[in-house]
Amino acid sequence: MIVRTGYFLRRALRNMRQSPVLSLASIGTVAVALALLAFFAIAVLNVQQLTASWGENLAIVAYLDDVPDKKVINSWAKEIESYPEVASVNYVSRKEAFERFRKRLGEDADLVEGLGPEVLPASLEIALADDWRNESALTAVVDRLRKDNRFDDLQYGQGWLEKLEAFLLLLRVSGSALGGFLVFAALVIVANTIKLTLYARQDELEAMTMVGGTSLFIKLPYLIEGALQGLLGGLAALGLSFLAFQVILQKSLGNLLLITGIDTIHFLPLIWQGLLIIGGGLIGLLGSLFALRKFVRFGAP
């Protein structure tokens, strides 16, 4: 069997060497199709990362007009922390709030010159736990705090959160649909390119069936060839998308997302890079399989 595997591999490599133009056409098609998919994946992953980071900042701020004793504040914080939806409660004193405000003003800090910390209210910053960063959890916590007369001035981004969740859903659905469409398109294009290469070898395939070659024996070298071309195409797609990432995507996507507070644009994670190459191999293999069905026939049905 090992000897036979070597035979089929040698044949596949030789087929590729003997038809360099056809091989390059197949590799190029896989590369372009998968590079498009990779660009799209880079954009979706980065936007997803951005929206995830927005979710992390989700918090409820309960302003305290009259600041009670430190002990009382600590007991309130502990009480709120006991809610299952809440991850942590952070007390921000008037002084800390004023300092933050001054820092945020930067060069315009002199605007608050002469003012004291008493102009700003103290607050409790309530952060939600990872699993509860959604609209219903936020509403539940806010309702519970509202019922309590201690906290009547609550600030939270409910309307904004609704929009964020809708946007995330849209991104997920459209991402999956477009990604699926791109993979399907890549498969069809690759299958058709391989079909064209097989047209050129139609006589050869027919001659093989005439001397007793079984379907598998005839098809295997072409399947291996398709898979190899797909793997090379996947590798080229990775190279292409990395190049495009370095030259164009990183800058343009970076500029676009910078407004929203993200300063680093990431390339595809390692596992996605591996998937891109393996996916190329699979597309090549399936493309060959579909194309060969039509060409290796032993006689009239």
Binding site: N15, S19, E204, M210, V211, G212, S215, F298, G299, A300
Partner: protein
């Protein structure tokens, strides 16, 4: 070796390529299949190597009924056959050696056995010095000798030849016929489609004539002595 019972082949409604053909070819026989173009010669050969299926009737090859052979069994039938075409059907991207070796490779023969057998067969057809060449570097006659070598390398039970000398000049035709005669002398049954009357006169053998798909004549050679 070959038996056809009331075989019909209809391609389109009421258009018979073969009509009620019953034929028996014994082991070791050399039979010419003749008739005008469109008489059904190629169709009959195609039925024997399962490129077509009969519309009616039964076909037995080497004692096995091949009438309803599925795709998976056809390759194994063809390993016992040598098939030769007018247009050679060689693998143009493979060397002469590789072309002749291919039928042995599909049978999973050992490499040293293949090289020995291929060299011997190419020597028999006088092309052992051309084994590293590619088919298109050879003349038409030489390409047909490669096709004959490819058919004979597996020591087939039956050799089916469809107008094998149709494109060749008389001298090369004699060479090819010489190769067929040797194979036949070694026990291979030969069924050869041709409409070359001079060839049939030169090498008289049993002749089966087809006309418009029907069996028109089945003659033994007039001069038996000449057939020997």
């Amino acid at each position: 070796m070959i038996q056809l019972f009331n075989v019909c082949k209809v391609y389109q409604r009421d258009q018979y390529a073969l009509r009620d053909v019953t034929l028996k070819v014994e082991k070791g026989e050399f039979v010419y299949l003749t008739g005008p173009s469109g008489a059904g010669k190629s169709t009959l050969l195609k039925l024997l190597y399962c490129a077509e299926r009969p519309s009616r009737g039964q076909i037995l090859v080497n004692g096995r009924n091949i009438t309803r052979f599925g795709s998976a069994r056809i390759p194994y039938l063809r390993r016992n056959l040598g098939i030769i075409f007018q247009d050679f059907k060689l693998l143009h991207r493979r060397t002469i050696y590789e072309n002749v070796a291919f039928p042995l490779e599909v049978q999973g023969r050992k490499r040293f056995e293949i090289s020995k057998k291929v060299y011997q067969t190419l020597k028999n057809v006088g092309l052992e010095h051309r084994l590293k060449h590619y088919p298109l570097q050879l003349s038409g006659g030489e390409q047909q000798r490669v096709a004959v070598a490819r058919a004979l390398v597996v020591d087939p039970l039956i050799l089916l030849a469809d107008e094998p000398t149709g494109n060749l000049d008389p001298e090369v035709t004699m060479d090819i016929m010489g190769l067929f005669k040797s194979a036949n002398a070694r026990g291979t049954t030969i069924l050869m489609a041709t409409h070359d009357r001079s060839l049939m006169r030169e090498f008289p053998r049993r002749t089966v004539s087809l006309h418009a798909g029907s069996l028109a004549m089945d003659d033994l050679p007039l001069f038996r002595g000449a057939a020997e």
